[in-house]
Structure formats: C-alpha cells, structure tokens
C-alpha cells in the first residue's frame, strides 16, 4: 500500500525506514504542516474531511503514477484526517530512488497531484472564532512545466501576450476579424485525430472560447495521429490533456470541457451556447446527433471523417434551404458499413489533413471569408491528390420529408425513446447478477484477442444478429461489442423486430477495461 489516510499522528521514522532499499542512493521527503494563517486570516487549527474510498484509490493511483513516471524505487504518502492544530503534520510524502533527481521530482509530483486531485476538504478554524471550508484551487503543478524547464533555464517572467500579426496582416482578417475571433465560441466534439489540428489551430488563431467534448482516455495507439499528446499522457482523459494543451498554447483562450458525449437533448442546448460546432468524432451516431442538434439550434456545423487515405468534408450551415447530413444520407448506416480507424487502419496525416481543413472552414465561417455559397460534399483522396466537390441539392433531401428541422426533431424523439438501450456496468459479473444473458457480437478474432472473462450465453457476429434472432430468448439480453456501437445498433434493430428486453453494454468491452 503506497497511500494511507491516517486519523492519528503519523510515525514518519517508520515511513522513512520502509522506503530504504539497497538500490536507492537518494531519499527525499516532503512534510506539509498546518500553519497559523491563510490568506491573511489567523488560523487556530483545522479539520480534514476525506471522501475516504475515492481518496484511497486516487492516492494509490497518484503514487503509482509517480513511481512509473520517474522510475523511483519506492514512494509513499500519508494524509491526515480529523482535527489538527497549528504545527501538526498534515501530509507526508517520501520517495527513494537510485539518484536524487528522480526522488525530488517524484516527491514534488505526488504532493502537487494530491493537492489537485484528492477529494479532501479542509475546514479552517480562525482565531476570530468562526470557521470556513476551504476548497483547493489553482494548484501549480510543477511537472506540467518540466518540459519548458528543460529547454529554458529561466522561464519567462512576464505574462504572455498573443501575437496575431501574421494573420492580422491578411486584408480579409485585420483587427476587425481578430475581434470577431476573440468574441467567438466554438465547440469541438472529439479531441482525437481530427480534433487535434482543429483545437490547435483555433486556439492559436485566438478563438475566444473553445468547448471540448470527449469521454475517452488517451491510448498509445492514438499517438500516431493525435499530435497534441505525449507518451507520458497515456491513460489520462483527453479533455484534460487538450485543455492543458490549449492553456499552454494560448493562455488567452477560455476552455470549457465535457467528459461524456452530449446526449441528444443536451446537445441542442449546448450547441445554442456556441457560434459554431466542429464534429471530430469517429462515431457515426455522434455525427447524426450533431447534424440534428445543429439544424434545430441553428448552429453551423463542420463535419469531416476519414477512411484510410481519404476523407470527406461537409459544412452544414444550418440555415433554411441549406442541406444537412440527413439530406445526403437519410439514415444512420450500420457501424459495420462505415469502417473505423481501429478496424480499417489509418495513416496519421489523413485525419491531420481533414482536421486542418475543418479548422480552415471554421475560420472562414467565423471571419466570413470568401467561400462557395452552395453546399457540397468534398472528397479528398490523399493517394492520388484528387479533390472532388459534389454539390448537394437540398431540394432532394430532407425537403421531401418536411424539411431538415422537422426530420431532426423526429430523430431526436426517436433517440429519446432509445436512450434507455445503453446500460453501463462496471463489470460483466454485475450484468449477470442483474439477470442479463450476454450476447457477444464481436467476431472470433476480436474475442480471441480480448476474451470477456465471463461466459457469454451466445456468440453471434453483429452482421448476423437479425437473421439469427430466432436463437435468442425473450431476455433480458445484454449485447456486447468492442465499443458499444455495434451492440447499440443491433439492439435497435432487434427492438424494431419486436424484442422488448434487449440492451447494449454502454462503451463496450473497452469501457470495462477503463473502469476495471
């Protein structure tokens, strides 16, 4: 155990002894004490209150991160809870390592992260007799600045002032254009292969507010195309990393983050708080939901998607008479039909190129730069350099079914009915205990690569689920696939065929891996 909450005084000598290892040539400890003042008020003592279970697991995680990050031999942290007096030890951190540098840095990392992430509240008792719960805010985390420190012995002391001179020089931009950008709010959905260039370019251009939506944690397989992130970031939430990246690139940009995909109705509401939305997910369902929310809220949307060496780009202006995604493809295709980076493969510059094009379209819309006034689907083939622009005839799309807004509202109503299809479970034992029969929709290769860990009641590849539906009982059934997309689609198909008690494991096997 590397982390402990202690309700009694801490024996620091014992903690130090436990970190002694023959291979350690350096040991570093940090002690946090209760001091007699905070923000100008005299403090008599304080109470620490922790959300114990969460603090315990998060504390363990932080120390494990420090050990892995700096390669120290061992590390440990103890945090007090309960009533403390001035001078009492509140927190103790120790790290031993082959060399002193790692020990210092691991120690610093642990205390900074503890202060930032641990669900511990402190109630200060003032000499004046009153007391106040104090929240932990604005923690400087030294390790976030390690990279800069290595390159610049003296970090700049003056606050950073953005220099937009290279774009101000453009006649079509100028001071007026820059002011438009500073006043604009752009929502970027997905901080992956497309989202990285979009977020970077819009932050660099000085867009006033960037909203970022992403529920995923960074995986090592993302790094070849998701250029904002580092190897050391694997396992962290992408929105956290992206927000940090924007703050580092252009501190004048305000960032708002959402760590879960926007649900249908919430999307309409959130879109209304932005001037423009850029859809950068690898999820067809999200694209349709974004197109619906865009036309209902009247918010322009820039869509792009990639396949191996090529991509598609469409701007939905969300004005009457202009086409939406459903004008082209009225119904969401089955996940098996559309491919994905994981299954079909992709070269990093493909989303990089399409993402850069999305950023360009976003800036053109915000600055009202010259652009074609008719809507089109743009196909970009990066192997043969061909770009094909196919005009979309809005009169042949949703207009034949009551118009984009009406079609989008119907889709939203359907999404509301289907919302209860997705069920989240921390582990599959929980689903079995709840009485579900598991149906694994993955193909044999995927199952071999990542077994469920529990016995599936049936294995039926997602493409065969409807034709083999007679093999299914009345349920309740929980359909399972890698990401939750194929299973949700299959559940909708089965419900349309009359199955009542069929659900999909939200986030698929991947979500189990993250939660477990």
């Amino acid at each position: 155990m590397h982390f402990q909450l202690a309700s009694e005084a801490v024996d620091t000598a014992r903690l130090r002894d436990a970190l002694q290892h023959p291979g350690s040539g350096g040991f570093c400890a940090f002690e946090g004490w209760v001091r007699n003042s905070n923000e100008g008020r005299e403090v008599d003592g304080l109470d620490y209150e922790a959300y114990a279970e969460l603090a315990q697991s998060e504390g363990e995680r932080i120390v494990a991160e420090a050990i892995a990050r700096y390669g120290v031999t061992d590390a440990c942290c103890v945090h007090r809870t309960g009533a403390l007096k001035v001078g009492d030890l509140a927190v103790w951190v120790g790290a031993s390592a082959a060399h002193r540098d790692e020990a210092f840095r691991a120690c610093r990392y642990i205390i900074d992260e503890i202060k930032h992430r641990l669900p511990i509240w402190k109630k200060e008792h003032y000499l004046s007799g009153d007391a106040e719960w104090v929240a932990c805010t604005h923690v400087h985390r030294e390790h976030e600045h390690e990279h800069e420190m290595h390159h610049h012995a003296h970090p700049p002391a003056a606050p950073f002032t953005p220099d937009y001179s290279r774009q101000l020089r453009l006649r079509e931009v100028g001071e007026a254009g820059q002011a438009k950008l500073a006043a604009s709010r752009v929502l970027v959905i997905g901080a992956g292969g497309l989202g990285c260039p979009v977020i970077s370019y819009l932050a660099g251009a000085g867009v006033g507010t960037l909203g970022i939506v992403d529920g995923d944690r960074l995986e090592a397989s993302n790094l070849h195309r998701q250029t904002m992130y580092d190897a050391a970031d694997v396992g962290e939430l992408k929105v956290t990393l992206a927000a940090r990246r924007v703050a580092a690139l252009n501190p004048s940009v305000k960032v708002r983050t959402w760590v879960a995909p926007l649900q249908a109705e919430q999307a309409v509401e959130v879109f209304g708080e932005f001037d423009l939305v850029v859809e950068c997910t690898d999820d067809m369902r999200s694209r349709y939901s974004s197109s619906d929310a865009a036309v209902i809220s009247g918010t322009p949307l820039v869509l792009a998607s990639v396949y191996q060496y090529e991509g598609q780009l469409q701007v939905v202006e969300a004005r009457p008479g202009m086409p939406c995604l459903r004008c082209l493809w009225p119904h969401e295709p089955a996940p098996e039909a559309v491919g994905s980076c994981a299954l079909s493969g992709v070269l990093g510059p493909a989303p990089g190129t399409l993402g850069a094009m999305q950023a360009m379209e976003a800036l053109k819309l915000l600055l009202d730069l010259p652009r074609p006034r008719d809507a089109a689907l743009v196909l970009v083939n990066l192997l043969d350099h061909s770009t094909t622009r196919l005009p979309i005839d809005a009169t042949q799309g949703c207009a034949l079914h009551g118009g984009c807004v009406s079609v989008a509202r119907q889709a939203l109503a359907k999404a509301r009915q289907e919302a209860e299809i997705d069920l989240a479970f921390g582990n599959l034992e929980g689903a079995l205990a709840a009485g579900f029969q598991l149906v694994d929709l993955r193909d044999a290769e995927e199952i071999a690569a990542e077994p469920l860990g529990v016995e599936a009641w049936r294995q039926i590849p997602s493409t065969q689920i409807v034709e083999r539906a007679n093999e299914l009982g009345a349920g309740p059934l929980l359909l399972v696939c890698a990401s939750g997309r194929r299973s949700a689609h299959a559940a909708r198909l089965l419900r349309a065929e009359g199955w009542q008690h069929v659900h999909s494991l939200a986030g698929g096997v991947r979500a189990l891996r993250v939660m477990g």
Binding site: M284, V306, Y307, G311, L328, W329, Q396
Partner: protein, 80 residues
C-alpha cells in the same frame, strides 16, 4: 455497350483493390451497373447506404448511363 469511367472511395476502393477503372457495360442505369460491380468485386455494401454521382452531380440509382460518364461511388465513413 456503354463505356464509363468509375471511381471508388473508401471501403469500395479497398474491396475492389483499385481506385478506379474503365468498364464497358450492358447496364442501362446506375442501379444495374452497381449490381454488376457487386458481383465482380464482391462489394459488401448495399446500394441504399451509398451515394452515387455522375459527372460531379449526385444522382438517383435509376439515372441512365451515357458513354463517357464519370461515375463516383461514395460510402459513408466514420473514422476520425
């Protein structure tokens, strides 16, 4: 027979193993042509999930073929 130039995108390009080809066909509509191509290249996608464009204009599957047409088949893609 009608001579047409075909371009394949995404999954179709991958399944055909080529980005495009010139074919002589007895088909008279886009729908018939796609059926012919499905048999030849073992395409897995049904026509109703695709978009098709002739000479850079989206068309319906009943659109007639003419000599020299450039026909583009476009599947929806989701990668990002």
């Amino acid at each position: 027979m009608t001579m047409v130039n075909l371009q394949y995108y995404a999954q179709l390009r991958e399944q055909a193993g080529i980005g495009g080809e010139q074919v002589a066909t007895a088909a008279t509509t886009l729908g018939q042509l796609y059926e012919e191509l499905c048999a030849r290249h073992d395409f897995s996608l049904a026509a109703d999930v695709l978009k098709v464009a002739v000479n850079a204009q989206f068309c319906g599957w009943d659109h007639p073929l003419r000599d020299g047409d450039t026909i583009v088949f476009i599947p929806p893609v989701a990668g990002g």
